[in-house]
């Protein structure tokens, strides 16, 4: 069935199709309409789930830690300050190996107050042990959220599905909504390896001394190292069943490109559009869309990035004092592997500022003029200051 729905509505539909059993969330713009819709469908019985309406995001994640420990499928959604308030619990969810799925509707972190989009909120959670995906369309949100449960449960890892606040969350698009029976075949009920059970009493997440803690972290790292394959296989199976393909990195006209931009989220639409338009004028430019951030698709990126091409990373986030998070990750990856490809750094779209086709054209022009060779942070769309 096809429907014209918002990005947030795509999440609610995915949660329903995934037969989530316990939901807990706290309202925050621009996530709120997800909580509202889920309240409706839990209340009406359309989805057989408990929605625990807590007093904070800290409690939302704590509730899911409790619920997920009993073996059920769990979900929450949040944004910005709410995600930051969960920070402590995010480490706990991954350390306890709980396959909680969290949707983060990207919003910049205050101060000063803003409800508008950038990706600093979720990228600042990169060390918490959550898998992370960045979506650019409502169809992708629906499909990725469903796959997130399957991936999280296969790996016993929590998973964060991110997309840009307002630009995607409140934009309506045509979405193909799968039948429940098809999703039930693709995503059977969760089978927890261990769980809270009075018939089989176990203690979870108790105190460790220096002779044990490192092994827990080593196992977590090892799981992330094999996560890429599980993710590829899951989206591969999804493609076979539903005909829609998702790769950890998606490319557009990169084979003969002299300048290539890398970006994630809603900015991808603008870059696609600009590249197509400039290609018509003979510009040899291309695009790499970053979809998966944790685990970072290192092998695929390394095989793509070649010396002689001017690369630029469009970062809709800021790690103050350093720059863009995606740029750091990619430069570190190249450096570790002795890959001499050069990366220019472009900060744009913070706090909801539009990333326009003119901005993207300007970036490509700067790349042609050697911006990939310098180590400057190039601010795009910045006003006189």
């Amino acid at each position: 069935m096809k429907a014209v729905i918002s990005g947030n509505d795509a999440v609610s539909r995915a949660v329903k199709l995934s037969r989530v059993q316990v939901i807990s969330a706290y309202p925050i713009t621009p996530q709120t309409t997800i909580s509202e819709k889920l309240s409706e469908i839990c209340g009406s019985g359309e989805l057989d789930a408990k929605f625990v309406k807590v007093e904070s995001e800290h409690s939302a994640m704590a509730t899911l830690i409790g619920a997920s420990s009993t073996g059920v499928r769990t979900f929450t959604a949040t944004s910005a300050q709410g995600l930051a308030l969960m920070h402590e619990l995010l480490f706990w969810a991954s350390g306890a190996r709980l396959p909680i799925v969290l949707v983060d509707v990207n919003r910049a972190m205050a101060a000063p107050w803003t409800i508008w989009c950038d990706q600093t909120d979720s990228l600042a959670q990169r060390d918490t042990g959550f898998l992370q995906f960045y979506c650019w369309s409502n169809q992708e949100i629906l499909d990725t959220t469903i796959c997130a449960f399957k991936i999280a449960e296969a790996l016993a890892l929590p998973c964060m599905v991110c997309f840009d606040g307002f630009f995607i969350s409140h934009t309506h698009e045509v979405v193909d909504i799968p039948d429940q029976t098809e999703i039930d075949e693709f995503l059977p009920p969760r089978k927890a390896v261990t769980k809270l059970d009075p018939a089989d009493p176990r203690t979870f997440s108790g105190g460790t001394l220096p002779d044990n803690f490192m092994e827990f972290r080593y196992k977590l790292q090892k799981t992330f190292e094999r996560a890429g394959q599980v993710i590829d296989d899951t989206f591969g199976e999804f493609e076979k069943r539903f005909g829609r393909s998702y790769k950890n990195i998606e490319t557009y006209f990169i084979d003969d490109a002299e300048a290539v931009l890398l970006a994630s989220g809603s900015a991808a639409s603008t870059v696609y559009h600009t590249v197509r338009k400039r290609r018509d004028s003979g510009d040899k430019i291309g695009f790499i869309k970053l979809r998966q951030f944790r685990p970072f698709p290192e092998t695929e990126l390394l095989s793509m990035l070649k010396p002689g091409v001017a690369y630029g990373v469009l970062d809709r986030n800021l790690s103050p004092g350093t720059g863009g998070v995606f740029t750091q990750e990619i430069r570190a990856l190249l450096n570790r592997n002795g890959n001499p490809a050069r990366i220019g750094e472009f900060i744009a779209g913070l706090g909801g500022r539009d990333i326009t086709t003119a901005n993207v054209e300007r970036i490509f022009a700067m790349l042609k003029d050697g911006a990939a060779e310098d180590s400057e942070i190039h601010w795009i769309g910045l006003k006189e200051h």
Binding site: S56, L64, P201
Partner: protein
């Protein structure tokens, strides 16, 4: 009462609590009452640490460790998860100290009480952050020494009245309990077990290292806390019906204070203040018990 034998499950692994610890006595008797179809949810605190270090555990029932301020919410999540699997009868026992209850977990506690979550919350109250080494909490009484209320800067504020705060939520059951009155404790635990909704047991938990008392005196101190009306035994049903469950002898508070080094810096006038505050709080309990018209406990009088 069930025939659940706590010690049967403890043959091979013991807990690591200090000698004279009230918390373990209370846990033992409450678990004996609740039986094996119980799950413990516990935050950072003495109970979490003394249950055992990985891979050891002293708990005979499933034990979920959760972050410090997360007790009530995580317990509500366990409840929701069990309910979705038809395990409505399993008791979800939130087991938290006064730091986790009176302080860092207060928002989540109030929220879970307001939602009337079907959990049994036990606060083992040793009146300070004992696990981190005796720092003041809002459960620390007036005049007490702790490492953050040192000599010359003893705690100036009275203990937060958690029972009345919870009562104002109108929850089905609140009771105070003492390890010196085990029959009373077990009766209240049994009553709480058989009710639905948010149930709160506030249990008095002597702490020899934190209170600078002799481990052999723990039960004596707990008994004196009740007999001096420092820690009266009562229960409140539906936030309104208060009943004192034990008539104390009304001994002078000095008999309670003198057994504990934490009160050794008190001046005479401060001891008199503790006596008069104790008397007036106890009188307010008696007034509330006899008042038939009051629909809810109000805090302002």
């Amino acid at each position: 009462m069930t025939d659940f034998d706590y010690f049967k499950y403890h043959e091979s692994c013991g807990h690591a609590a200090c000698p004279g610890c009230g918390e373990k006595i209370l846990l033992r008797h409450i678990l004996e009452t609740l039986g094996p179809d119980t799950v413990i949810v516990a935050p950072a605190g003495c109970a979490a640490v003394t249950d055992g270090i990985f891979p050891h555990t002293a708990s005979p029932v499933p034990f979920l460790h959760v972050p410090f301020g997360a007790t009530s919410s995580a317990a509500a999540g366990v409840r929701a998860g069990f309910d979705m699997q038809g395990k409505e009868k399993t008791t979800v026992l939130a087991w938290a100290g006064d730091g986790a209850t009176f302080d860092i977990g207060m928002g989540a506690l109030s929220a879970a009480a307001e939602r009337n979550e079907n959990i049994l919350y036990v606060c083992y109250d040793n009146e300070a952050y004992m696990n981190t080494g005796i720092q003041r909490s809002s459960a620390t009484p007036f005049g007490s020494w702790t490492t953050t209320t040192p000599k010359g800067h003893l705690k100036k504020e009275p203990k937060k009245n958690i029972d009345f705060i919870l009562a104002s939520h109108g929850i089905p059951y609140i009771a105070t309990c003492s390890p010196a009155f085990i029959d009373d404790l077990k009766r209240k635990a049994e009553k709480a077990k058989n009710l639905n909704g948010f149930r709160f047991l506030h249990v008095f938990s002597p702490c020899p290292p934190g209170w600078k008392s002799d481990p052999k005196d723990s039960i004596t101190i707990a008994r004196l806390a009740v007999e001096t009306n420092i820690f009266p035994l009562f229960e409140i049903e539906n936030g309104s019906k208060l009943r004192l469950t034990y008539k104390s002898q009304g001994l002078p508070v000095s008999e309670y204070l003198q057994l504990q080094g934490r009160f050794s810096y008190l001046k005479d006038n401060e001891k008199e203040k503790i006596q008069s505050d104790t008397d007036s709080l106890y009188k307010s309990l008696i007034d509330r018990e006899s008042s038939k018209t009051r629909s809810k406990i109000v805090l302002e009088d």
